[in-house]
């Protein structure tokens, strides 16, 4: 392969644009998305529902719906100095790539397991499809992983999915996700639809797994507290674009984009009092005919003529903290004024 990546980068997305063809027109689900994921790092994609977070993650394993079309961009994946262009893999290579290199733990693990096969069979299927036929070794690895996600390994391994509770299934799916030691694990809303105790358990398990196994995480969530707790880097996605990208502390405490700022103030925290809690006015834009200029301008308190005409570039501020906004200064000032 001709591409060269810095040795510590596991995944690099360049200028990725995806449209969905529908009866009403082309939905521009993702526009010119670029980011890089270093190995061992956890990155959170945050944003409202329908902002295109899931589309980005599905594109990484090329699991997009049939009506999706990738109009531009490339996705490079590197492991052991070997670079693969994910979008150019043939179907056999793609099958090998999935789960071996990049596993995805889907939203709603409730139905992620085939109801008629034992958990054991589903671990073995996964291993066998990637050329690992030694069932005893699979079992040993699976049991240790199930132990790691704090399940009763023997019992769960020989259980049918319906014999497990929702939280147990989610953890079993996490174990299955790292069975083949992938370098990247995508977690799509890993805690949604679980009760608060189970959510806590999942977060602890994830932290444990990251300590013991070496993999990068991309996780998608609208749960900002989860992002704050788990991520090293955070990318804010709005209307199919990454509008802010930076270290977790930079983004959450020194936000440079009014949308991220809006998301943060719409979450109740212990420190903030009720009157400071506000929701972002308006609703996400129609992605068939998105607004001209900055896509956020119809909902933005700082918007002016510039915002309506030109779309702001994702420009570096300090320390690798990027944001696409014309009025970062005014945002910082207003924050200072509020505190």
């Amino acid at each position: 392969m001709s591409q060269n990546l810095p040795p510590d980068v596991a995944l690099k997305v360049d200028d990725l644009s995806i449209v969905y063809r529908t009866d009403r027109g082309e939905v521009k689900a993702t526009a010119n998305v670029s980011f890089a994921l270093r190995s061992g790092e956890a990155m959170a994609l945050i944003g409202e529902s329908g902002s295109g977070k899931t589309t980005i993650s599905l594109a990484l394993i090329r699991k997009l719906p049939k009506n999706a079309l990738i109009t531009s961009g490339q996705i490079l994946y590197q492991r052991n100095q070997e670079v693969q262009d994910v979008l150019k893999l043939n179907s056999r290579q793609l099958r090998e790539f999935r789960w071996n290199e990049c596993a995805m733990v889907f939203q709603g693990a409730q139905n992620a397991f085939n109801p008629v096969l034992k958990i054991r069979k589903q671990f073995e299927d996964t291993a066998q499809s990637h050329g690992w036929r030694d069932k005893a070794a699979v079992r040993e690895r699976a049991l240790s992983l199930l132990q790691l996600v704090r399940l009763d390994p023997e019992r769960v391994y020989d259980a049918y999915p319906h014999e497990l509770s929702g939280g147990m299934k989610q953890r079993a799916l996490l174990a299955l996700g790292v069975l083949l030691s992938p370098q990247v694990v995508i977690l799509d809303e890993p805690t949604t639809a679980l009760d608060i105790l189970t959510q806590r358990a999942i977060i602890d398990v994830l932290n444990d797994m990251r300590r013991q196994l070496d993999f990068s995480i991309i996780f998608i969530s609208h749960d900002l507290s989860l992002a704050a707790e788990m991520a090293d880097h955070v990318a804010t996605v709005y209307a199919g674009e990454i509008v802010e990208l930076g270290g977790v502390n930079d983004v959450f405490y020194q936000s440079l984009h009014p949308y991220t700022q809006g998301l943060l103030t719409s979450v109740p925290t212990l420190e903030h009092t009720q009157d400071l809690l506000q929701s972002i006015p308006g609703s996400p834009p129609n992605l068939i005919t998105p607004p001209v200029g900055c896509k956020f301008h119809p909902r933005c308190a700082f918007a002016d003529d510039v915002c309506m005409e030109d779309s702001p570039p994702l420009a570096v501020d300090v320390g690798g903290h990027l944001a696409a906004c014309w009025h970062k200064d005014r945002l910082i000032e207003s924050r200072k004024a509020r505190v």
Binding site: R95, N100, F106, F113, P115, D125, M168
Partner: protein, 368 residues
Amino acid sequence: MTDFQLLDAGQDALEQALSPKRKLVPAPVENFYKNYYVRVFAQAILTIWAVLTVTFFLVRQMPGNPIDVLIEQILTQEGISYQEAYDRVAASFNFDPDATLFDQYLDYIRDLLHLDLGTSITSPGTRIIDEIARFLPWTLFAVGSGFLISFVLGVILGMTMAYYRDSALDHAMSLVSSFFTGVPNYIWGLLIIIGPGISWNWFDVGAARGTYDPGLTPGLNAAFIGSAIEHALLPIITYVLATLGSWMLSMKSSTTSVLNDDYVNVAEARGLKDRRIITAYVGRNAMLPLFAQLSISIGFVLGSGVVIEEIFVYWGFGHYLFQAITVRDYTSVQGAVLILSSTFVFSNLFADLTYGLLDPRVRVTGEK
């Protein structure tokens, strides 16, 4: 036990307590009957007994009376007195025609409990069990293979339709499957005879009658087996044509819904091989609802065998039953009904009991 296992156990208990299907522990007295297997088996036996009873009294209400027919025959043939003829006929039956209907019924049940199906009325001395043993295998062979072929074909074609849904192939196959379902099975039989059989002369309709060529000894020799298959071919084709369409459509709709399930999506993301996904993930789950239909269809197809076998002059069980009905041979009809009803009831029971093997979700309590 870690705190998480404790948490899991607590959740399990909670879910069990909240689940509406979970019943309280049965009282010890009821334990035996509450046992799922005992209960369904008792119900099956009860149903068969009810069918037998209904049949016993119903067949005797059929217009026409075999005893009078037989007495009439002997009178005209041998010119003896009515009383003599009557005595002879009465002696040749395994029941007393003078006894009340209810006594006859008790006799019948008593014999049945000794596994004795009695002898035929119109051809005295012929044991019904022998007759059934003579005719039933042919029907089981023809219906069974027709059923198997059509089920397998239907599952494959139905899955194909679901994978290519809304394509021209799907539309064409839908139309064909409607055609197969719509045309009644005996009409298929007649069409086969009129078209390829008579008009185009592809095969000799007359030679295809019966169950095997005369002069062959039944047994495990190639000539006999070949001939048996040849003779069963037309009924088999008819059963396949008549049942294929509904299997195709059922399989299509159930595959379509399974394809939208998360676990199929996840299986693809797991990088499983396509063949594994199609068989163990899509196929196996999509076939579950079809097994529930299977048992009911078996009963239906066995019952419809009468018309098919009459049309092709295939000497199977349906032919036997039809003959018995036309000559009002009560005991033979009863014997045949016993077999048909038991087949229906037990195939249902079998399907219920084995469903758990296919779907682990119903295995725990043995209840759906």
